[in-house]
Amino acid sequence: MSAPNKNFDPVTPAALDPANLQAAVDAALSAIAAAEDLPALKQARLEHSSDKSPLALANREIGALPPSAKAAAGKAVGAARGAVNQALKAREAALKVAERERILTSERVDVTLVNDREPVGARHPIHTISEHIADAFVSIGYGVVEGPELESEWFNFDALNIDRDHPARTMQDTFFVGAADSGAVLRTHTSPLQIRTLLTQAPPVYVVCPGRVYRTDELDATHTPVFHQVEGLAVDKGLSMVDLKSTLDWFAATMFGEGIVTRLRPSYFPFTEPSAEVDLECFACRGESVGNPDRPCRTCSSEGWIEWGGCGMVNPRVLRSCGIDPDEYTGFAFGMGIERTLMFRHGITDMRDLVEGDVRFTTAFGMDG
């Protein structure tokens, strides 16, 4: 630093010499540009922008200048320092982007590596489809009823107008419990839930009843002694077979697609009168396969219809057994096999897959079938 300028002679210190200033800026800019990474840039900042850098020295020299010279010198030094700082900032930003890119590149993984570390759960399709059906009926105002599988004979047979000598009440069909006079069986259908509901709930009654039922069949590809049904029951004033057919058509469309309908064929069940078998229009071919050997349909065996279940108007004798006046109320009921529905809906060819509990089978259905 120069000595104080006592005599006010216009002497310019070397550091403020414009040529020297320009040289310091040039040196700084080239050092900044040469910095390859952030540590190098830090070194350049130390040399060219710190308190000991030529430009900082120049800045301090301004104080020794006569007042008339200070403004011009300050402006020149300020511009020089500004240029250097701007270059530093720009270089730092560029180096940071480059550094992030380098790290990201080095962290690349093979995303096709499979992480199957934790087990993945699944629900049995018999239960998910039962809930699906129940939900559909809940959406039109039906309640859901479940009940005991070991049932009084009166609920399973007598109240349903299946009299003592009916062939269904033999050991060939029904699992009997304990002694001959136990009065109890493993329920052979979900229909006792009709009785349980009508005994406890005054009409109007609208319920669906999914559940497990039993018949003494040996397990094979199409039979199982333990299976599932879903039963629907409506008892109200003024219900007719038109309501029954309409509800079944709605059910078919809900489960199998817009426009799929049902067909009723006269049949016999003790607990309904009139009674009918329910056929489902084939949802796979919609009847296109009938008489059309070029387009065979496996789902319906090219029949156009699939046997789905049974239905009818609740027999007045059943209503009377529950203390309901059939002159005032009428009702309809229907029942479908869940396994059967699943088999044709999902193309399951062997009943044993549904009952053996192989986790590979369930897993394929995921959480919602």
């Binding site: 105002g141 004979e153 038109v242 057919k245 009723l264 006269p266 016999y268 203390g323 509990g357």
Partner: protein
């Protein structure tokens, strides 16, 4: 019931060219379940042949015959394995080029050392019946003639599954009546066409005491025992799936198929005294035609003579009075037995016959005499019999009319059905309609109430006329709260990574033994089935674990090396002997009877069981995995309960089938909800599961009862947290949960949480001690805690722990 179309057409004036398929479709539309239509399925040359020579080939293990058969244009050598024919018999010969049912092609081929130039066919090979212990012997035919006509193979046969309400359709008469109805054409009743018979000549007296409201006997003498059944009869019996036996038996079967009335022929010379129709004596026995010696039940009805029981009424005849090939005098029985009596007898003796199947479903009670007369005519015509006298005991009640509102079909079906249509339909099915009283015909005992008549109207009007509109809307407002909660419980394990399986709810004592249950364990109180599928599993399950273990074993057997499975379902508890009262149908039982029916049943709560074995998290490129253990079982049990807001308390327990030192008893508010932990190594070994397999069984009814469907929101403090760690030395026997609860209780309201983070047993603590380290989080709802606050809470918590003998680890 198999019904040949040609036979149906004899009584129903169907269109000449109608196809069997169309008949089937129309019958289905009026309510007959036509299961199949069997049409001609033999192609190529099938001719009548006559056996000229038989050479027995004896060098083979079974009898083999090389036959020379005249087939019209030539004599062919044919190898045959059957022995039921002789030289001179007419047989059905399938010649090279013929294709039998199932695509079986006939060609000349070398076999048993000869060229076999065709095949002699059995009923089974031609798809006529199931007989295959012999070939078909034809009763008539021209050698070289196409055998299809002789066998009825140019006819279609409808196979109809007859529902219990349509007994009359177990006859051609009934099916033809339905076909005429379906096509709206004329029906000529074959029963009405039977000419009347004189009742003169010798009679067989009858003493009718029980079981029948109509009983007839007709004596036939001079029957030619050598007379053979005519070809049309053999063909039709065969088409209907019955085996021709002898003329006498064939006539009774033929008339039964034609009209629906079961008949029985006794050898009159083997009868002693009057025929009695009565209940059996105490311990009375009867050997029936199937060679089974039967001890009769007091509720059976028998036909008897002075020698004792000679037939099981409505079910099967006895051996002692059987017609044989020397019988010349016959007593023909045609009767009407009560449906429920016959059904009960058939069930008791596990004996179902053509007769019992018909009586069970109800036989036309006005048919016995016509059927008897029809058979008598056939005996006279075909066997030269002299028709003797008739005994006809008739105690039938008159059929009462049904009071019927003609508006009822409109109300039930939902279509506008005019009264004229209702009357016309009921008349066509045979009813007598007189104003509002409708008298059903004698062949429809199933028509008892107005609603039965509605069904008749509906099926004839046609179910296909019923329109569709929107569904019948219910009055409910969604799933009930308990349904929603139950669904959460049933779904939760799958969300936690478990796979749901189902198993049969049957159980054997050996399985309960394998679980190591003590003799007085309540899970041994099980309902026993009277007719289990397997004698090994006669019980209804009281626990889900055996079923789940068996499923696990099956999966391991199929290659699974780790398992996370669960099952939910009902168990059957607390009652071994069920005694539920029975009541009549048609009226609501009295309250106490209903209560007794319900309370007699076992408790049937829904349980949920979990089984985990092998790796929970797997090893892989990320590093090593982790095996399931007892703590996973408890964690999963508690996570399931939390799905309905239930906090399960955990205590140490020793409970089979769990490892006695690794079993947790799970409770909610002191009520037992289940158990969880590692399975006993004996059980793991018995089922071949990966070591350290763990299981849970929960009673969902307990969880539902304690569920908190509406969660009370916590107050979330925004003041700073203070953290304190404490390590405590306690007796090894003390449970961590007890100590944690003591700290929680002692710490009071300012203690936000207490979490166990380390367990140490080893040289740095005495042998019978362990060190448990907890981290405490402290926080106030209204201020920042001071040093004094923190020290106070810590001291208070430690003081509570000290009551359990805990000392701060130095």
């Amino acid at each position: 019931m198999r019904a040949p179309l040609s036979w149906i057409k004899e009584y129903a004036a169907l269109p000449e060219q109608v196809s069997a398929r169309e008949v089937a479709e129309r019958l289905i539309a009026v309510g007959l379940e036509v299961e199949s239509v069997d049409e001609v399925s033999v192609e190529g040359p099938l001719v009548v042949g006559r056996v000229l020579e038989i050479e027995e080939l004896t060098e083979f293990k079974k009898p083999i015959r090389f036959c020379q058969v005249d087939v019209g244009d030539q004599v062919r050598g044919i190898i045959c394995g059957a022995t039921n024919f002789a030289v001179g018999d007419l047989v059905a010969a399938a010649l090279p080029g013929a294709v039998l049912p199932g695509g079986f092609q006939i060609s000349a081929r070398k076999t048993y050392g000869h060229v076999s130039d065709g095949m002699l066919a059995s009923g089974r090979e031609l798809g006529i019946n199931d007989e295959y212990d012999g070939i078909l012997i034809l009763a008539e035919g021209e050698v070289g003639q196409d055998a299809r006509g002789v066998l009825g193979l140019d006819d279609a046969v409808l196979d109809i599954a007859v529902t219990p309400d349509r007994g009359y359709c177990l006859s051609i008469r009934g099916i033809a009546r339905e076909a005429a109805l379906a096509f709206d054409v004329e029906f000529s009743d074959p029963a009405a066409a039977v000419p009347a018979l004189e009742a003169a000549g010798p009679t067989q007296p009858v003493d009718l005491r029980a079981g029948a409201d109509r009983f007839t006997t007709r004596v036939l003498t001079g029957v030619d025992p050598s007379a053979a059944s005519p070809a049309y009869m053999v063909r039709r019996l065969t088409q209907c799936g019955m085996r021709p036996v002898s003329l006498a038996v064939d006539i009774t079967n033929y008339v039964m198929l034609e009209l629906g009335q079961p008949l029985h022929a006794f050898d009159a010379d083997k009868l002693t005294g009057a025929i009695q129709v009565r209940l059996p004596h105490d311990g009375e026995t009867l050997e029936t035609l199937d060679h089974v010696q039967r001890t009769l039940d007091p509720q059976d009805v028998v036909i008897a003579d002075d020698s004792g029981a000679i037939a099981l009424a409505g079910v099967m005849g006895g051996l002692t009075t059987e017609i044989d090939d020397a019988s010349t005098n016959v007593v023909l029985e045609a009767a009407h037995f009560g449906a429920s009596r016959v059904a009960a007898t058939s069930r008791r003796h596990k004996l179902s016959s053509e007769a019992s199947r018909r009586f069970e479903r109800g036989v036309d009670d006005d048919l016995a005499l016509a059927a008897s007369n029809r058979a008598a005519h056939l005996f006279a015509e075909l066997a030269g019999a002299d028709i003797g006298g008739l005994v006809d005991i008739d105690s039938r009640e008159a059929i009462t009319g049904i009071a019927f509102d003609p508006q009822l079909p409109t109300r039930i079906v939902g279509l506008d059905i005019p009264e004229a249509t209702v009357t016309a339909v009921l008349t066509r099915i045979g009813c007598n309609v007189d104003g509002q009283s409708v008298q059903p015909p004698s062949w429809r005992p199933d028509l008892r109430e107005p609603i039965d008549l509605v069904e008749e109207v509906a099926r004839v009007v046609g179910y296909d006329r019923i329109p569709s509109r929107g569904p019948a809307m219910g009055t409910g407002i969604g799933l009930s709260e308990s349904d929603r909660l139950l669904r959460r419980l049933r779904r939760r394990p799958a969300e936690l990574g478990l796979v749901e399986v189902l198993s049969y709810p049957f159980l054997g004592e050996a399985e309960l033994d394998a679980l190591g249950l003590p003799a007085d364990d309540p899970r041994r109180v099980a309902v026993r089935l009277a007719n289990p599928l397997s004698d090994e599993q006669p019980l209804m399950r009281t626990t889900l674990l055996p079923g789940l273990l068996a499923v696990a074993r099956r999966n391991v057997g199929r290659g699974a090396d780790s398992l996370q499975v669960y099952e939910y379902g009902q168990v059957f508890r607390d009652v071994a002997e069920v005694r539920a009262p029975v009541a009549d149908a048609g009226t609501r039982p009295e309250g106490h009877v209903l209560d007794a029916m319900l309370s007699a049943l076992p408790r049937q709560p829904e349980h949920l069981a979990v089984l985990v074995a092998g790796a929970w998290s797997r090893s892989g490129w990320w590093g090593t995995g982790r095996d399931c253990d007892w703590s996973d079982a408890i964690r999963l049990a508690r996570a399931v309960a939390r799905a309905v807001g239930v906090h399960l308390d955990v205590e140490t327990d020793a409970h089979a089938p769990w490892h006695p030192g690794r079993c947790a008893r799970l409770t909610v508010d002191g009520h037992l909800a289940g158990h969880a932990g590692e399975l006993h190594p004996d059980v793991v070994e018995a089922y071949g599961l990966p070591a350290r397999a763990a299981a849970v069984e929960l009673d969902l009814s307990v969880l539902l009862a304690a569920a908190t469907p509406v969660v009370a929101a916590p107050a979330v403090s925004t003041f700073p947290v203070a953290k304190e760690d404490v390590a405590l030395v306690v007796d090894r026997e003390l449970s961590a949960e007890q100590l944690r609860k003591a700290l929680e209780r002692g710490g009071g309201a300012l203690l936000e949480s207490v979490r166990l983070f380390d367990v140490y047993e080893g040289p740095q603590v005495p042998d019978d001690k362990k060190s448990l380290a907890f981290s405490l989080r402290l926080r106030a709802s209204d201020r920042t805690l001071t040093e004094d606050d923190i020290t106070g809470v810590r001291e208070a918590a430690l003081a509570a722990a000290a009551e359990l003998g805990a000392q701060l680890r130095g």
